[in-house]
């Protein structure tokens, strides 16, 4: 690979893209060289998807320009971008599962006899030729649906190349693949690189990016942070660039480690769920706030769901105050004194069109009245209590929850949890997408609950936040516990080291 002597095959210059006043991309520049594998890195909301959608013609940039092999271009629509040789392969593959591999590869430009009848023999031969050139060992005549997801993806890539793609964008191609499928995919990517194709690779698995990419570009909050060759960007620097830490960590409250002297409230032992949660063992004591720290896709949300019973764990034990939870559903967990605040407030939390009153009392409804009747008075009392206690800003209990700000919606959901008087609280990114003021209030509530003896397990994408509210941090990476750290006296740097170390010692995905 030689990136210095050639013109970028695709270049974005000072791209800005704004949605409803929110800058998803802010003056982002970025160049993709022929024959390189370029990793695009960043947490959720960093702007990766928007950049990809701009490159593929889904979005027109508000400012800035795209250059294709040195010449300015504009893509009116995705088709224009495709015709210019830019192909994006997503996890959901746009091929026809019922047809054969060859038909899929040659779709739309089948060799014909006399311009009418499809020449099946030539079709299969041409497809087989392409497959063997890229080292893909499948029968051209096999139906696509008989192949695994990884192989289907490779067929999609082959089709893109056959159509003349010079740039291939792979968005999270490995997240649903097994280890051996990943190896095959990487072999194909390396072959394409040797042929001079430029590959833009997006993955949350750092070890993969280091194994595959020549250069890495990091985006954060819609801005370009850096572009470095992989060798010049060690993991610690990469993680720091991805997470950022402009805000100085609030003084981490000092001597909080006595919290661990309380009795264990929630414990997991070798908890496993598919390959996303692997042998996770945790102990959370009364009055303790434990932060589960990990990058996106590290298995932190899945760990929460497995503990709460929203997903059924494959193995391991969960103990709540000494009572084992097995084959439990959320309802059963709640009955035992567990409460869970989901990460995706809109999809998994609120009932958008219903009033605050119903949203807040959803979980405790049965205990508020008798004989299956709803007691309006008891509902009202509970709502008033929590509106006051959490200072929820609303026009009244009748107001639809969707009309509240994100922070107040989150407080209503927190109140729904607290109304069950839980012993242990699971908070999956409780301050995601809420404003700074509401964040501080949520932090204060969490600390107060711990002070009252509740056991809290929390995650966040912001390290500073975890430092501010937690007593202890547990790092998780690719589903495994990778280290732990008492918060007292620590800085964000220590956490970044822990995380980077976790990524370093990632379970080796055997790559021959």
């Amino acid at each position: 690979m030689n990136t210095t002597s050639t013109v970028p095959v695709l270049e974005a210059r000072h791209i800005t893209k704004t949605f409803r006043g929110f800058a998803a991309l802010d003056d982002v520049s970025f160049a993709l060289m022929p024959g390189e594998v370029h990793g695009l890195m960043g947490e959720n909301g960093a702007g990766k998807s928007t950049l990809i959608k701009t490159l593929t013609g889904f979005h027109a940039p508000d400012a800035g320009e795209l250059r294709l092999a040195g010449e300015a271009v504009t893509f009116a629509d995705p088709r224009a971008s495709q015709n210019a040789g830019i192909a994006a392969v997503y996890q959901e593959i746009n091929l026809i599962p019922e047809r054969s591999v060859a038909e899929n590869i040659m779709l739309g430009r089948e060799p014909r006899i006399g311009g009418l009848i499809i020449d099946r023999r030539r079709l299969n031969a041409e497809a087989a030729d392409l497959l063997s050139r890229y080292g893909i060992h499948v029968q051209a005549t096999a139906p696509l649906k008989s192949l695994g997801l990884g192989m289907q993806q490779m067929i999609a890539i082959t089709r893109a190349i056959a159509l003349g793609a010079r740039v291939v964008i792979l968005d999270e191609p490995t997240s649903a693949l097994s280890g051996s499928e990943v190896d095959l995919l990487f072999a194909l990517i390396n072959r394409l690189r040797d042929d001079g194709v430029a590959i833009l690779f997006v993955s949350h698995r750092l070890s993969e990016c280091y194994a595959l990419c020549d250069r890495l570009t990091v985006l954060r909050d819609g801005r370009h942070v850096c572009t470095e060759t992989t060798a010049d960007l060690p993991r610690t620097a990469l993680v720091t660039a991805m997470l950022g830490r402009e805000r100085e960590a609030e003084a981490a409250g000092g001597a909080r480690s006595e919290a661990r002297d309380g009795p264990t409230v929630l414990a997991t032992e070798d908890l496993s769920w598919r390959d996303r949660v692997r042998d996770v063992s945790l102990d959370i004591h009364a009055g303790e706030v434990v932060g589960l720290v990990g990058l996106l896709g590290s298995g932190r949300t899945e760990t929460f769901k497995a503990i709460f019973g929203a997903e059924r764990a494959d193995a391991g034990r969960i103990m709540l105050e000494g009572t084992p939870l097995t084959r439990h559903t959320p309802a059963i967990s709640i009955g035992h004194g567990l409460a869970f605040l989901p990460e995706d407030r809109r999809a998994d939390g609120i009932f958008a069109r219903l009033p605050i009153r119903e949203n807040l009392t959803a979980t405790t409804l049965g205990s508020l009245g008798r004989f299956g009747l709803v007691s309006r008075g008891a509902q009202r009392q509970l709502v008033d209590e929590f509106v006051e206690e959490l200072s929820i800003k609303c026009s009244g209990p009748q107001q639809a929850i969707s009309e509240l700000s994100g922070g107040n919606q989150q407080k209503v959901l927190l109140a729904r949890c607290l109304a069950t008087r839980p012993k242990a609280l699971l908070l999956d990114d409780p301050t995601r997408g809420i404003d700074v003021g509401a964040k501080d209030e949520v932090h204060a509530v969490i600390r107060r609950l711990a002070g009252e003896g509740m056991a809290v397990l929390v995650t966040s994408s912001e390290i500073d936040e975890l430092l501010a509210i937690c007593d202890r941090l547990v790092a998780i990476n690719e589903g495994e516990i990778a280290g732990e750290l008492d918060v007292a006296g620590r800085s964000a740097d220590d956490v970044l080291h822990l995380l980077a170390g976790a990524a370093e010692h990632a379970p080796a995905r055997d790559r021959a």
Binding site: R20, G21, F308, A310, T329, P330, A331, S333, I334, G335, F340, P342, A347, D348, G349, I350, F351, A352, R353, L354, E358, A362, T363, L365, G366, G369, G372, L373, V374, R416
Partner: protein, 329 residues
């Protein structure tokens, strides 16, 4: 609209307020469209249709409306969970056939048996939706076909006359002050269902399941039990609707009873303000939706509009009503 307010802060407040007022009037019209449409249609008929103001016509209309009101209630609950119950028409027919088969138990026994059977089928429908995760559209379609098939098989495909006296005779003929017994029963049941929706945990859980299935599950509400209950209630009400229809016809007629009623029930529920996207149930709206469709039918019949054209006009009316509602979302 919110966007234009944000992007043009400099503009005077007055025109915005007017447009907001205009909008709230439109919103009011839209959310009360079923009552307005009903009132307009009745007014039209009183002015134009000869014989519409006759109490006998009213009585006939209410006889016809009672079964539709019942299945529209069940439909509203199913739609409230973001589901649908396509089996109700066939369940009416099944109920009718079971009465004829079980008439040896005496009329009360036969009626109870018929309703029990359709309730069980409703429970089965709910089980397919909850445990097998079949799309309610598919499970309902299967029962629509199978239910009518079973109804025909039970009676060997023919019509069977039912006894003219007793409870069936009372349900089929009796009215007080020109209000049929069946209409009174239907209204009482509508009040009960409305109370169920407004005042019980079951009603809330129904709304939660429709508003966001995953949020309802994570909040620990009994989603499965609720869905089973909803489809069982829909089956029960369809069974009772079948009893009403049989009593009125004086016969068990699996080829005729309840045919295409599921479509009227869905139309009544949706026109009445039960959006297919779930999470909202309006029982009063469903009742008026059913009455509206019934008055519409009466309008066509009493003005001697050919049945074929009447169907087309009705379809146009339903589409227009639904469009007006959708435009709000």
């Amino acid at each position: 609209m919110a966007e234009s307010v944000v992007s043009k802060p400099a503009r005077a407040a007055a025109p915005q307020r007017t447009s907001r007022e205009k909008r709230s009037v439109v919103d009011w019209l839209r959310s009360n469209s079923v009552y307005i449409a009903f009132a307009l249609l009745v007014a039209f008929n009183l002015a134009v249709t000869p014989g519409f103001d006759n109490v006998y016509a009213l009585r006939q209309l209410l006889f016809e409306a009672a079964p539709l009101i019942l299945i529209a209630l069940g439909q509203s609950l199913a739609i409230g969970t973001r589901g649908i119950d396509l089996s109700v028409g066939s369940m009416m027919a099944l109920s009718s056939s079971v009465i004829a088969v079980a008439i040896g138990l005496g009329q009360p026994g036969a009626i109870v048996t018929a309703i029990a059977v359709t309730t069980l089928v409703g429970l089965f429908n709910g089980s397919m939706v909850t445990f097998l995760r079949v799309d309610p559209l598919i499970s309902g379609l299967a029962l629509l076909v199978a239910g009518r098939g079973l109804a025909k098989v039970l009676l060997g495909g023919s019509r069977v006359d039912l006894p003219s006296g007793g409870i069936l005779g009372w349900l089929g003929m009796q009215s007080y002050f020109f209000v049929p017994v069946v209409a009174i029963i239907a209204i009482v049941i509508a009040v009960v269902v409305a109370a169920l929706v407004r005042g019980t945990t079951f009603g809330r859980y129904t709304l939660f399941a429709g508003a966001s299935r995953s949020a309802a599950f994570l909040a620990g509400t009994p989603v499965r039990r609720t869905l089973l209950g909803v489809y069982a209630i829909s089956g029960l009400l369809a069974g009772l609707a079948g009893v009403f229809a049989s009593a009125r016809t004086g016969a068990a007629d699996p080829n005729y009873i309840g045919v295409l009623f599921e479509l009227d029930a869905i139309a009544a529920a949706v026109i009445g303000g039960n959006p297919l996207s779930g999470g909202r149930v309006s029982i009063l709206g469903a009742v008026f939706g059913a009455l509206l469709l019934q008055v519409l039918d009466a309008t066509f019949i009493m003005n001697n509009i050919d049945y074929t054209y009447a169907q087309i006009l009705k379809a146009g009316f339903i589409v227009a009503a639904l469009y007006l509602q959708r435009a709000g979302h």
